[in-house]
């Protein structure tokens, strides 16, 4: 790495960060390159019952599922879906959370109170039942899943951003720039926003982990997109088809480990990033 102090190199120096980066690298390589090398078609089901729930073999590295599809290929494709949903939901969540946090932190007026009460409402509602209800009402597609997760997971980001904005807003240079005649919009996005950015980075990575987990939960409960099979959906079908009872471990363990690896990777990297960007958390 060229810059000795770049965030990546600092992550790499930390044991936790290094572990996180390695796990994430594995997942990203799987998700990006995997389906190119081993294409997967979810509609390509078995022709005869002899191909269902086969144990791992040379032909099917991780056996076949309850519809005779190759579990290994399904796993690679699932990585793509899980990551895509997690990242997109996080994008929505971060954008909403950042704007709500910035605006409510910057203005002292009634706007701030209203935004914060809305945030409180979202924080107080148990999110999982809400997501389940919304997903059930709006249907099973990954875009619905993305929207539902994104629009329910922003309150923590909003809170974090707001608390930092409250502190930045009082700094002298903000006062000075206000006196220069800069508009509120310019002040918020040109001067306050860059100062909260590091916090948003760290928070983003943690939100991704949460979003992927939420997606897996939804899919496991049968609310996932049946065409775009994610790891959660795989677990759902494995559970429904009774793979456990039939001893088909190759159908249950791979997606389970996949979810573990991806969530662990983001969580480790996120906590480490949090420490780098927030000196107060740094260990001595």
């Amino acid at each position: 790495m060229k810059n000795k102090n770049s965030v990546l190199s600092q992550l790499w120096k930390d044991h936790m960060g290094k572990a996180g980066l390695i796990l994430l690298a594995i997942v990203f390589v799987m998700a990006i390159l995997g389906p190119m090398v081993f294409p997967f078609d979810s509609s390509q089901t078995a022709q005869s019952s002899s191909e269902i729930l086969n144990a791992p073999s040379v032909e099917h590295w991780l056996g076949t599922d309850d519809m005779g599809r190759d579990v290994f290929r399904s796993l690679l494709f699932g990585a793509r879906i899980s990551l895509f949903v997690g990242l997109m939901a996080t994008l929505i969540s971060i954008i909403v959370g950042t704007i709500v946090g910035l605006v409510s932190g910057y203005y002292r007026s009634i706007i701030s109170v209203i935004l914060m009460r809305i945030t409180d409402v979202f924080l107080a509602i148990p999110v999982l039942p809400l997501i389940i209800v919304l997903a059930a009402v709006f249907g099973q597609s990954i875009f619905i899943t993305i929207m539902v997760i994104g629009l329910t997971s922003w309150p923590s980001t909003a809170r974090i951003v707001r608390s930092q904005v409250l502190s930045i807003r009082e700094r002298m240079y903000i006062e000075r720039i206000k006196n220069l005649g800069a508009s509120d919009f310019r002040l918020m996005f040109r001067h306050v926003f860059p100062n909260v950015l590091p916090l948003i980075y760290a928070n983003t990575v943690l939100v991704i982990a949460g979003s992927i987990l939420s997606e897996a939960t939804l899919a496991f409960l049968g609310l996932g997109d049946p065409v775009n099979v994610s790891w959660g959906t795989m677990l759902h079908y494995a559970f429904v088809s009774g793979a456990m009872g039939r001893g088909a471990w190759w159908y249950i363990i791979p997606p389970g480990v996949g979810i573990l690896v991806i969530v662990l990777g983001f969580t480790l990297a996120g906590h480490c990033l949090d420490e780098i960007t927030n000196p107060k958390l740094r260990r001595v």
Partner: protein, 318 residues
């Protein structure tokens, strides 16, 4: 030619404990090209008075009376939008505390160019950058440091940046709020030299706020001594420094060691300034004054001319 005339200016801050009468009927004037110093202890209303000229007071402050005539124009009658066109282009400010008045995440150059971009909408980014670079050179910093961040600059250099920023839109009047506070003496001298040079080269009028009389005595043409929201002594700087008349000014001068002559103890002024929320009638300095009379407790003296270009607000001088 008079560039600034402040008449009977009063400013009140609303606080939880009541209204603070921070400025109570201030009269000030200065001619074009002059440097006016405003001195006084903390909380006497120096900054409030000066920042009320471009109307840059905090939200809880209200101008309760008086007028500010700048360059023949009564600023107190202008709308906020009209004021916006005066700020920076006509009157600019070097803010207090240069150490903290720069955004740590933006380059120094950008921050100098910002007032140009905000106040001169016709100017392109490229042009603003060129002007900011020229200003950097002018205040003694290499233009190549345009892309540096504030943490890469020393305190003195940051103060130079603040000076460059204040000159960005070629103002006529610059208000320097404690421009050398928190700098060491060597750097103070350099910054004061720079201010003097800038004033001469840009044909500026300047108001300098300080609690440090030695700084003001070095530069000022006129000086105003403030106490408890009022001007107690005002006039030609040399006159005020050599022949102070108000007891407060006299004690203030004695509070500084004299580098010539005998070694003497610095006396200081015992007591505290009065509470500006509940002001007693009479002279505000009465409790700390060595020469107060019975009359001082009942009547507040007004600023009156005691000598040629020398004004004093003391019962004894009237």
């Amino acid at each position: 030619m008079s560039i600034l005339q402040v008449k009977d200016l009063s400013i009140e801050f609303s606080t939880r404990n009541g209204g603070v009468k921070a400025v109570r009927g201030v009269d000030l004037w200065m001619n074009k090209g002059e440097l006016l110093g405003i001195a006084g202890e903390s909380g006497c209303g120096k900054t409030t008075t000066a920042l009320s000229i471009p109307r840059l007071l905090p939200n809880n402050a209200t101008i309760t009376g008086g007028s500010v005539v700048f360059d023949g124009q009564d600023l107190s009658k202008l709308s906020e939008a009209e004021m916006e066109s005066i700020r920076w282009k006509e009157i600019s400010v070097i803010f207090q505390g240069a150490m903290n008045a720069l955004n740590p995440l933006r380059t120094v150059g950008h921050q100098i160019a910002e007032p140009i971009l905000l106040h001169e909408p016709g100017v392109s980014k490229k042009e603003a950058e060129e002007r900011a670079k020229a200003l950097l050179e002018e205040v003694g910093i290499a233009a190549s440091r345009y892309t540096n961040y504030p943490h890469e600059f020393s305190g003195g250099m940051r103060q130079r940046v603040m000076i460059a920023m204040s000159l960005a839109c070629n103002p006529k009047l610059v208000i320097a709020d404690e421009p050398v506070t928190a700098l060491d003496v060597m750097i103070q001298a350099q910054i004061l030299d720079l201010l003097r040079k800038m004033k001469r080269e840009h044909d500026l009028s300047m108001i300098m706020i300080s609690h440090d009389l030695s700084v003001l005595s070095e530069l000022c043409d006129k000086i105003a001594i403030m106490y408890a929201g009022k001007i107690v002594e005002f006039g030609d700087a040399r006159e005020v420094f050599t022949k102070p008349r108000h007891p407060y000014t006299i004690r203030l001068m004695k509070s500084y060691p004299n580098i010539y002559g005998e070694k003497t103890f610095v006396s200081g002024i015992p007591g505290y300034p009065p509470n500006l929320i509940h002001l007693e009638p009479g002279c505000p300095f009465v409790d700390r004054c060595e020469v107060c009379m019975e009359e001082c407790r009942h009547r507040e003296p007004v600023l009156s001319e005691i000598d040629d270009d020398h004004y004093c607000a003391c019962v004894r001088g009237e």
